[in-house]
Structures are given as structure tokens and as C-alpha cells.
């Protein structure tokens, strides 16, 4: 009998943070222009002591203006998608729930596209519209996925997958009829891609939003453990079920909307990462939420590095990498559940 202690949680998280750091260094190093690790460490050291002006200019351009912002974006998006995936899994009591599989990402993408069509110049409208799209989609899937008033695992997944394919079709329709406008490529919205850099101001807003929304989900971590055993059991064990569900529903929708508005619909991260973390560290949500955030960051940065370097000089969308890894895992989990 080993109940969770704060020390163990801290140990696990620092381990993952070290892995993330290693992955970040790897991602800075690899690319069309390879950079040696020594140079990297030296230049990072120079920036740290405030002497970035001494750096060779091409290093500064590649490392600090091209690769680093993209890595930071990957960390944000990966953490947001994984935490929202873990949240949806508890909310819907379905281990296969994931923002992409359930169509939530497509809903967010549709919201973002609609806002870009309607008024492309209002700065924060796109993420807000993406959040609205995500929230509406998950509500629709929730009600479509019920049978005789009860959430039914199979029906829910079917409802989500059908919703996703319907929304993707609407997105393609919009993109085709409005091809004259600058809306980024179809692949961006349907597959996800980290190549569009984020304005620095927006980056900080997103860091704060990620912290608040993921933190809100984390405050319900102990309740989510019980919610997974069933709503009525959770209620009898002292969980304020409606309040917890509302918090997770809103926060997970915000996280999905935020991620999709800046990177498109990157699939399967929200499914893949929480499952790997459960296998490694157990299914306690007090561990799962922070490890999923770190793990999501690691997976996305790795996947994006692969996408950038696997067939140079072409860059694949990062969503293609995550789907190639994630879809087989989904099938495996589905098969195992049916047995």
C-alpha cells in the first residue's frame, strides 16, 4: 500500500521535465542546418547571461527566431491537448475520448475559420471562436452519445467520429468556396501544423490561459478519480458532480480551442499521452494531469522534430506524425476493451 505523496509527484514531474529539456535541445539541434550540441549549450549560456549580441547572427536567426518559438508553441499545444484529453476521458467516463476523435478539434477549427472569414482583424477573436466551437461540439457529442439517459461508450465514440467527419466536410466546403482568402492551408486545419509562428504577445496570453485552465482541471483531480467509477458513486463519496463536470467541460474546451486556433487539429495526442502516462505512473488524476502536460509537450516537440527532418527539405504536418502513432494505439485500446 503506497498512497501518493507530494514527494513522489515532484520526483516524477522533475524526471519528465529533464526528458523535456533533453528533447528541446535535440529539437534545437536537428534540422536543415545542423548545429552541434556544444555550440547550442554555449549560445544558450550566452543568452542566459544576457550577452546574446555576441552570437553569430545566423545562429540567432535559426535557433532563437525559427526553432525556439516553434518548440515553445509545440510545448503549449502538446500540454493543452493532453490535459484536455485526460479531462474529456473523465468527463465522458470513456478511456478512448480525445479532442480529435470526438470531433472537438474539428469544431474548434470550424469556429476559428468562421471567425477568420467574418472578421480577420480582431486579434483574440479566433481563439475565442475556437473555444465556442469546441464547447458546442462536445455538448452535441455528449447528448448524441446517450442512450436511455445513460452515457454509452460505443454510442459516444460513434457520435464523436461522425461529428468529426461532418465538421471536416464543412471545413473543406468553406475552404474550397473561399479559396481566394488567406486562411492558411486545408492541411493546417484538418491535420495540424506548427509552422505558423505565434505573435510574442499572444504567446504569453496562451501561457496564462494554459496555466489557469489546466490548473482548474487539476483542482478537481481527486474528484475525477471518483467520477471515473460512476456519477452516482462519486456523488455518494462527496463529489459535487455537476460543479466538477462544469469546470472540466469548460476548461477542457478552452484548452482544445486554444490549441486548435494556433496549430490546427493535431490528432491523437490527447489519447496517446494520457494512456502512456497511466501505464507509467498509474491512473491517479493527481499524477496524470501534470504528467500528461509534460508528456504532451515531449511528444509534440519530438513529433514536430521528426516531421521537420524525416524527408528534408519537405516538412510534414505534425498531425500526420501523431496520427501515424496514435491511430494504431486507438485501435489497440479499442480491441483490448472489447475483450
Amino acid at each position: 500500500m503506497r498512497p501518493l505523496t507530494f514527494r513522489r509527484l515532484l520526483l516524477i514531474c522533475s524526471m519528465l521535465a529533464v526528458v523535456l529539456l533533453a528533447v528541446v535541445i535535440l529539437a534545437l539541434k536537428l534540422g536543415a542546418v545542423p548545429i552541434s550540441v556544444t555550440d547550442l549549450v554555449l549560445s544558450l549560456g550566452r543568452v542566459a547571461i544576457g550577452r546574446s549580441d555576441q552570437l553569430p547572427s545566423e545562429y540567432r536567426l535559426i535557433v532563437f527566431e525559427l526553432r525556439l518559438p516553434r518548440i515553445l508553441l509545440g510545448i503549449l499545444v502538446g500540454a493543452a491537448l493532453s490535459v484536455s484529453g485526460a479531462g474529456f476521458q473523465a468527463l465522458l467516463r470513456n478511456p478512448l475520448a480525445d479532442p480529435y476523435v470526438l470531433g472537438v478539434s474539428s469544431g474548434a477549427a470550424l469556429g476559428a475559420i468562421a471567425s477568420l472569414i467574418a472578421s480577420p482583424h480582431i486579434p483574440l477573436l479566433t481563439p475565442v471562436a475556437a473555444f465556442a466551437g469546441a464547447a458546442l461540439t462536445i455538448a452535441a457529442v455528449y447528448f448524441l452519445g446517450r442512450r436511455e439517459g445513460q452515457l454509452d461508450g460505443g454510442t459516444l465514440l460513434l457520435a464523436g467520429i461522425i461529428t468529426a467527419s461532418f465538421l471536416s466536410a464543412v471545413i473543406m466546403f468553406l475552404m474550397t468556396t473561399l479559396s481566394g482568402r488567406d486562411l492558411r492551408g486545408m492541411a493546417f486545419w484538418l491535420m495540424g501544423d506548427l509552422s505558423t509562428p505565434l505573435a510574442p504577445g499572444l504567446l504569453w496570453i496562451f501561457v496564462v490561459v494554459l496555466g489557469v485552465a489546466a490548473g482548474a482541471i487539476y483542482t478537481t483531480a481527486a474528484d475525477l478519480n471518483l467520477l471515473l467509477t460512476g456519477e452516482s458513486e462519486a456523488m455518494h463519496l462527496g463529489v459535487h458532480v455537476t460543479r466538477v463536470k462544469l469546470v472540466v467541460y469548460l476548461a477542457a474546451s478552452i484548452l482544445t480551442g486554444m490549441a486548435v486556433s494556433v496549430s490546427g487539429a493535431i490528432g491523437y495526442v490527447g489519447l496517446l499521452v494520457p494512456h502512456v502516462m497511466r501505464l507509467l505512473f498509474g491512473s491517479d488524476y493527481r499524477v496524470l494531469i501534470p504528467t500528461a502536460a509534460l508528456g504532451g509537450a515531449i511528444v509534440i516537440v519530438l513529433a514536430d522534430t521528426l516531421a521537420r527532418t524525416i524527408v528534408p527539405p519537405t516538412e510534414l504536418p505534425v498531425g500526420a506524425m501523431t496520427a501515424m502513432a496514435g491511430a494504431p494505439v486507438f485501435i489497440y485500446l479499442l480491441r483490448r476493451r472489447l475483450q
Binding site: L4, G230, L237, G238
Partner: protein
């Protein structure tokens, strides 16, 4: 009040009343007064099922059986008592508090419910499962204290499941699982223990074992236990009071001997029955066979 209640589930720390006093009159703990409920699809539609006004009282250390055939309103009455639903009319009070008005956390510190089992989505060990019973005592994100661990160990020991502690919940037998679920309810250190068909998937040995244990726990820890069942003989053997329900109506409340009459039970259960007396003086129900054997 929590500090005073913390000790009640720990043996040896029981309030020492006279050893000879097996069951004093005790104060009324649960009081159900004319409570009714109706399920319906919409506000203006006729109700699908109605539980008519029901009244009974239960004292501490008492085991009450809610008895009736399927669809008689047993589970509805249990949900009313648990505070999960609010009565349409009448009141359900635990120590003077309306159960449906309590905050979920407060309610979970006073009422523990053992439901028919629900499947686990992710594997859990028995101790993790029992530890869930400490949830109403923790603050947001609190980590379990050594005291919680001691209470969990104790709860497992009280149901005779100490050796199951590190086993996975999906690798134990039905009877073992039922004991772990009961241990989780004990870890809540409740005043009122509600059990919904706890003997449903158990063989006769495990059924008797569970109910004997429940009797003993109610005695030692001063719980009031309410058990929903359709097992006539188990209720007769272990309950102090029986609440007999039939099609949403409470037909009779009282000790088994007063409730069990042949005409009444035959009408409720729609089967030819005969009521005798068991060795302990409690009623015993048998099926009245079509062919009566006369051989000696």
C-alpha cells in the same frame, strides 16, 4: 464534530457502555416521514412510477431491511434516504438534517452507500479503492495522511479482507469484491450505511457471511444499516425491522415476526408460500409445493 466521530470506527476506541447492555433503546437516527416520490418523463406527463408516502424510523445499531419484489420501489426508497433525490412530499431526516439538503461532502461523511457494482474503467488495487472512502474528509488536492491509511487498514480488517489489500479489484471473486466495497463504505465512517441488494451475485455462504458481518458491524460501530433485498429469509434472519413494499406502496413496517404473514407475503410476492418459525424464533418462509410429500 469530526474529531468526536473519528474514533467510532476504530475498535478499542468504542464508547464504553455497560457490557451487558446489548441494545438499549437508542435515539432515533433516521426518520422517514410520509416521504413520497414520482418518476416521470416530463413535467406534464403522467408519472411512470410512484412511491407513495412511506414512514419508518431507525435507531442506531439497528438493521432495517427494505423488502419487496422487483419494481416495488425499494431502490427509490433507498435513493430518497441517501439524499440523492428529494422527496416530492414528506421528509427524510438523519439526526434532524434533511438528507437531500446536505452538501455532498457532509452527506458522504454521514451516509455511505454500497451500490450494485459498477465496472472500473482503469485497474485499481483494493487499497486504492478503499482509500476513495476517505475522499469526503480531504480538501482539494490533499494527499492521504497516515491516519487515512490506518483507517483503510482497519476497514479492510473489519470486513476480513486484510489479505486482499494489494490485490487488483478485477482479479478478486464476487464475495471478496463485495467485502472491499463494504470496506470503502466503512472508511467513510458514516452514521448510516445503505446497501442496495448487496447479496445479489453471492452464493449462500457469502450471503450469510456478509449479513452476519453487517449485524456485527452495526453493533460494534453503532451504525444504522438499511439493506434493500428481496431475500425473504435473509431479511427475517438479520433484520430488526422490515419495511415491506409492493408496487410503490409501503404495506407494513415492523419486526419480521409482525410483518411476515402468509396472506400478505403471498399477495406481495405472487407465489404460494408458507410461513413457519426458525430455530431462533424468527419467521421462516418456504415455497408451498403443489405436491405434498407425505412419506416420513
Amino acid at each position: 464534530m469530526s474529531s468526536g466521530r473519528t474514533v467510532t470506527a476504530l475498535p478499542g476506541a468504542l464508547h464504553s457502555e455497560g457490557e451487558g447492555v446489548r441494545r438499549g433503546p437508542g435515539e432515533v437516527r433516521l426518520s422517514v416521514e410520509q416521504a413520497s416520490y414520482a418518476y416521470s418523463v416530463g413535467e406534464r406527463r403522467a408519472p411512470l412510477f410512484t412511491l407513495e408516502a412511506t414512514s419508518f424510523q431507525a435507531r442506531q445499531r439497528e438493521v432495517v431491511a427494505i423488502l419487496g419484489p422487483n419494481a416495488s420501489g425499494k431502490s427509490t426508497l433507498l435513493r430518497l434516504i441517501s439524499g440523492a433525490i428529494q422527496p416530492l412530499s414528506g421528509r427524510v431526516q438523519l439526526d434532524g438534517f434533511e438528507t437531500s439538503q446536505l452538501e455532498p461532502r457532509t452527506r458522504a461523511q454521514r451516509i455511505a452507500v454500497v451500490q450494485q457494482e459498477s465496472p472500473l474503467l482503469f485497474p485499481a488495487r483494493a487499497w486504492e479503492y478503499v482509500l476513495q472512502g476517505r475522499h469526503p474528509y480531504g480538501r482539494t488536492l490533499r494527499f492521504e495522511t497516515p491516519e487515512d491509511v490506518a483507517i483503510v487498514e482497519n476497514a479492510l480488517a473489519q470486513v476480513g479482507a486484510g489479505e486482499l489489500r494489494d490485490r487488483w479489484m478485477d482479479r478478486v471473486s464476487g464475495g471478496e469484491k463485495q467485502r472491499v466495497i463494504l470496506a470503502r463504505a466503512l472508511a467513510q465512517q458514516p452514521l448510516l450505511l445503505l446497501l442496495d441488494e448487496p447479496t445479489l451475485h453471492l452464493d449462500i455462504g457469502a450471503q450469510v457471511e456478509l449479513l452476519q458481518r453487517l449485524r456485527r458491524l452495526a453493533e460494534e460501530n453503532r451504525y444504522t444499516a438499511i439493506v434493500v433485498t428481496h431475500e425473504l429469509n435473509l431479511a427475517a434472519e438479520f433484520a430488526d425491522q422490515v419495511v415491506l413494499l409492493h408496487r410503490g406502496k409501503c404495506l407494513r413496517v415492523g419486526p419480521p415476526a409482525a410483518v411476515y404473514s402468509r396472506e400478505l407475503l403471498e399477495q406481495v410476492f405472487e407465489a404460494p408460500l408458507e410461513v413457519g418459525t426458525g430455530p431462533a424464533g424468527r419467521p421462516r418462509v418456504n415455497i408451498r409445493g403443489e405436491r405434498t410429500e407425505t412419506a416420513g
